[in-house]
């Protein structure tokens, strides 16, 4: 009887002493930039897509494309029109999902945007919604530069593009890295190069010199204080 009790106590002690290994908290961050090449069957003259995501949690995807080469006269007045798509709510943000390296599913807004410029920073902007909270997915079968991706949104023609830049990290990828020692080339650190790159475009809108969708972080079609403060908040961070 005593032996049984002793063995029982020993067993209990052994079980309690076995260390419980908590699964290490791993997180994956993804940044992908790509060039949009076609909208339905129409080749795209100018287009860009940017995705910034924390896998399993959230994603920020934006895209713009201009089907025709803009005929921009040197002096105003002139018109600049483009399409823009924005992921407003992501429900699936995964790597290796359904045979795709990177997959984002959620609700999207799609607009047709026209800027009419009259000179001296005077312009009017006309935004026409094409889709509002429409289901759609960004699908990247191979998350490598040079490979293709698609954005398929209900009610909108298929958007196809080519991956240009990919960055996967297990640490947070901060917003704001849009330049480096080579202007316009991200260098995986947020510093004065990014601040100056955005500052040069300060006040610019699509169709004007220095404007670049990759530095319009809040996607309001204007490079302003919001972009500068985003960089300022992340100054000194590397990834």
């Amino acid at each position: 009887m005593k032996k049984v009790s002793l063995i029982g106590i020993l067993l209990m002690t052994t079980i309690l002493m076995v260390p419980t290994f908590a699964e290490a908290a791993t997180e994956t961050w993804v940044v992908m930039h790509g060039r949009i090449t076609s909208y339905g069957l129409t080749p795209v003259a100018l287009g860009w897509c940017g995705a910034h995501a924390k896998v399993g949690e959230w994603a920020r995807v934006r895209a713009f494309w201009v089907p025709m080469i803009p005929q921009q006269p040197p002096e105003p007045p002139f018109t600049f029109s483009f399409y823009a798509a924005k992921l407003v709510n992501a429900s699936i943000v995964e790597l290796n999902y359904g045979g795709n390296d990177f997959y984002v599913f959620g609700l999207w807004d799609v607009f047709s945007v026209t800027f009419d410029y009259y000179g001296e920073h005077n312009f009017t902007i006309t935004v026409t919604p094409l889709a509002d909270d429409a289901e759609g997915a960004l699908t990247v079968p191979n998350l490598l530069p040079g490979e293709s991706f698609t954005i398929d949104i209900t009610g909108v023609e298929l958007i196809t593009g080519e991956v240009r830049f990919v960055c996967l990290r297990s640490i947070e990828i901060p917003m704001g890295d849009c330049s480096g020692p080579t202007p316009g080339m991200a260098d995986r650190r947020v510093d004065i190069h990014d601040l100056v790159h955005v500052a040069k475009a300060y006040g610019s809108t699509p169709g004007l010199l220095h404007f670049d969708f990759s530095m319009d972080f809040d996607f309001d079609f204007r490079v302003g204080l919001s972009e500068l403060t985003t960089i300022a908040a992340n100054l000194g961070r590397e990834y």
């Binding site: 510093d191 004065i192 601040l195 500052a199 040069k200 300060y202 006040g203 204080l225 300022a232 100054l235």
Partner: protein, 225 residues
């Protein structure tokens, strides 16, 4: 033999001439050889508990559009209270100024840029002013590092960076020098006077009371008679 030698020598001379005319096409960052960013004044003296400021100054720069620097110090001796923008870059137009103060590790990261498609600023002046609060006595280097200057074409401007130092002393008492004083000796006359007054008062009180008593006895004796 001689002819061969002459041909070889001529070929060598031509080669040297061609090489001397060749100019490399590698793009070199702009900047005057004397462009410098430095802590001004280079040496400071401060007292514990009394704030002091240093400037970060630029010298002889051409087309400065944006700048960034980090300044490191001994965090056991100093805290940074504030960093403010200097006047230099503002000469070129509107600016955006950003700072990150880390008093735990003892460094600041400061950035500033002009806004819009404007040319950079030329010359010399103050980029920023850093205000410190000295906590303890000692000497600290004010290490200016990771300095970046960019021109209006987003190119780096070659420059040198010079650090500063600060010596922190314990403050002297206000009003002069320390003289040891014997308090008893200093107060002796006053104690004497106070004692004399007290004794006189006591003697007077006793005298008056005795006098009063004698008078009362006399009056009682007179009334009995």
């Amino acid at each position: 033999m001689n002819r061969k030698f002459v041909s070889f020598t001529s070929a060598l001379i031509i080669l040297f001439l061609v090489m001397s005319l060749y100019k490399p096409t590698v793009e070199v960052a702009s900047g005057s050889p004397t462009t410098a960013i430095f802590v001004n004044p280079p040496t400071s003296t401060a007292e514990v508990g009394q704030t002091f400021s240093i400037n970060t100054t630029i010298f002889d720069v051409v087309d400065l559009y944006g700048w960034e620097f980090r300044l490191r110090w001994n965090s056991t001796l100093l805290d940074v209270v504030d960093v403010t923008e200097g006047n230099f870059l503002k000469q070129g137009g509107n600016t955006f100024f950003a700072k990150k103060i880390n008093n735990t590790e003892g460094y600041v990261l400061v950035d500033c840029t002009l806004l819009g498609d404007v040319p950079g600023v030329n010359g010399s002046g103050t980029l920023a002013t850093v205000k410190f609060y000295p906590k303890n006595q000692g000497e600290s280097i004010l290490d200016l590092y990771d300095t970046t200057l960019l021109d209006s074409q987003e190119r780096s401007i070659i420059h040198i960076a010079n650090d500063g130092t600060v010596t922190i002393n314990v403050p002297n008492p206000v009003g002069g020098i320390w003289i040891p004083v014997n308090k008893l000796e200093l107060l002796a006359p006053y104690i004497g006077i106070a004692l004399a007054i007290s004794i006189t008062t006591l003697v007077t009180i006793v005298f008056v009371k005795r006098r009063k008593k004698v008078t009362e006895i006399h009056s009682q004796v007179n009334s009995q008679r």
